[in-house]
């Protein structure tokens, strides 16, 4: 199979598999993520979607933005649904009724992945289905009005952990899902960001070349929930990476590799400041939160560097 060289010029000649006319908000990160994932894939793909912004906005009643076979079942079972599809495919292939090599990709937001769809995701990974599960992580239940999820960052203001005079937003740290998925001993788990498109595309290509269960967690800015501008999805995801809030790394067969090391690690506040959901953290009485948040980011980054044998001197 001919592979497209990794330049934007060559990629732009490929057919886009997610069309215009979807109803995601202006400036949403999720369709950028999906478009990049689909551009990375070669050959036939079948996708499943958990309930969420992406699902409701790309397939409204009779109108779909997908140009590939796509199935939505419920909030909690994208991975289980795709497990069934993939199993049927293997059976039909054995019976000689399908000859194509098909790749399977599930998409879920953080609500449908970290929380509600977690058991079905964990099960699909344990059973070893040949699929790539992509979480587009925007850090809350944005579709239903910005409720906290276990992916919501520490300190963030959401409608179910509002920042008030007594409780300053979310008081817990986020669940480290990428590492939890890697702990399933799957062959491939990675983190990516749309700002670093080449890194993202390479990771998807690698994941799809591996047989078995794969997981990718991709940062997906949401200007409604992050209380930011409509034009800054890429700028914010870049800051997420450069502050090491969202480290880019992969864990392949248990071996951790940091795939992007910022030349200069920016202070976390560079990522937080442009987002209204963190506004209250800049009040003098909440300084301890900024410190605590920065410490958590540093700790995770150092542990990743250590795991990848890449300790900074």
């Amino acid at each position: 199979m001919a592979t497209t060289p990794l330049t934007l010029k060559e990629l732009s000649k490929k057919e886009g598999l997610l069309t215009s006319g979807h109803r995601m908000c202006a400036g949403c990160g999720a369709p950028i993520v999906v478009k990049m994932v689909l551009l990375a894939a070669e050959g036939p793909i079948v996708a499943a979607n958990a309930t969420g912004c992406l699902e409701v906005s790309t397939c409204i009643s009779d109108y779909t933005a997908w140009k590939i076979p796509w199935i939505h079942n419920a909030f909690e079972n994208a991975a289980a649904t795709l497990s069934g599809v993939e199993t049927m495919y293997r059976s039909l292939k054995k019976q000689g009724k399908i000859s194509k090599d098909i790749k399977f990709i599930a998409f879920g937001g953080d609500g449908g992945t970290y929380d509600i769809g977690f058991q079905s995701l964990s099960g699909a990974m344990e059973r070893g289905h040949d699929m790539l599960y992509i979480c587009y992580d925007n850090g809350a239940y944005m579709n239903t009005g910005i409720q906290r999820s276990s992916a919501t960052p520490f300190g963030a203001d959401t409608t179910t952990c509002p920042a008030g005079s007594v409780i300053p937003g979310k008081t817990q740290q986020r669940k480290n899902l990428t590492k939890i998925m890697a702990a399933h001993d799957i062959p491939y788990a990675a983190q990516a960001s749309p700002s670093h498109w080449m890194d993202l595309v390479k990771k998807v290509k690698k994941a799809l070349s591996i047989e078995g269960p794969k997981f990718m967690n991709i940062l997906s800015p949401c200007n409604r929930g992050w209380r930011s501008r409509t034009d800054d999805a890429i700028t914010l995801s870049r800051l997420g990476v450069e502050t090491c809030y969202w480290p880019l790394y992969e864990i392949e067969n248990g071996v951790t590799k940091v795939t992007f090391k910022p030349k200069e690690k920016k202070p976390l506040v560079d990522f937080l400041k442009p987002q209204g959901r963190f506004k209250h953290l800049f009040a003098p009485e909440n300084e301890w939160m900024l410190k605590k948040f920065q410490e958590a980011v540093d700790k995770e980054w150092e542990s990743l560097l250590k795991a990848s044998g890449n300790e900074q001197p």
Partner: protein, 97 residues
């Protein structure tokens, strides 16, 4: 876009036409309109890659303008455009002005 009556909807709401969302023109959402200034364009195609709405037209590997039927006016393309010598090749302008 013409909405179908419920009797016309397929069982299980199965969509049989791939990419039928193209019938829905999201360009009407736009409050700001991107304008391309060709002489400042270095053809990096960042605008194409980062547009959430697939509204940057590319022909034979070259940026050729916008598809205003679908562009929602988010401004990502303009913010990410490096342009030439500090001059942007995309600027956002208020609609209807």
């Amino acid at each position: 876009m013409k909405l179908k009556g419920w009797k016309k909807v397929t069982p299980g709401a199965v969509c049989t036409v791939a990419g039928s969302a193209l019938e829905f023109k999201t360009g009407s959402w736009r409050a700001f309109r991107p304008r391309w200034i060709e002489e400042n364009c270095i053809q990096c195609l960042f605008c194409w890659m980062y547009c959430p709405d697939m509204a940057v037209n590319v022909k034979d590997g070259k940026m050729v303008g916008f598809n205003y039927d679908y562009c929602k006016g988010c401004g990502i393309c303009a913010l990410e455009c490096p342009g030439k010598k500090g001059k942007k090749a995309i600027v956002m302008e208020e609609e209807g002005k």
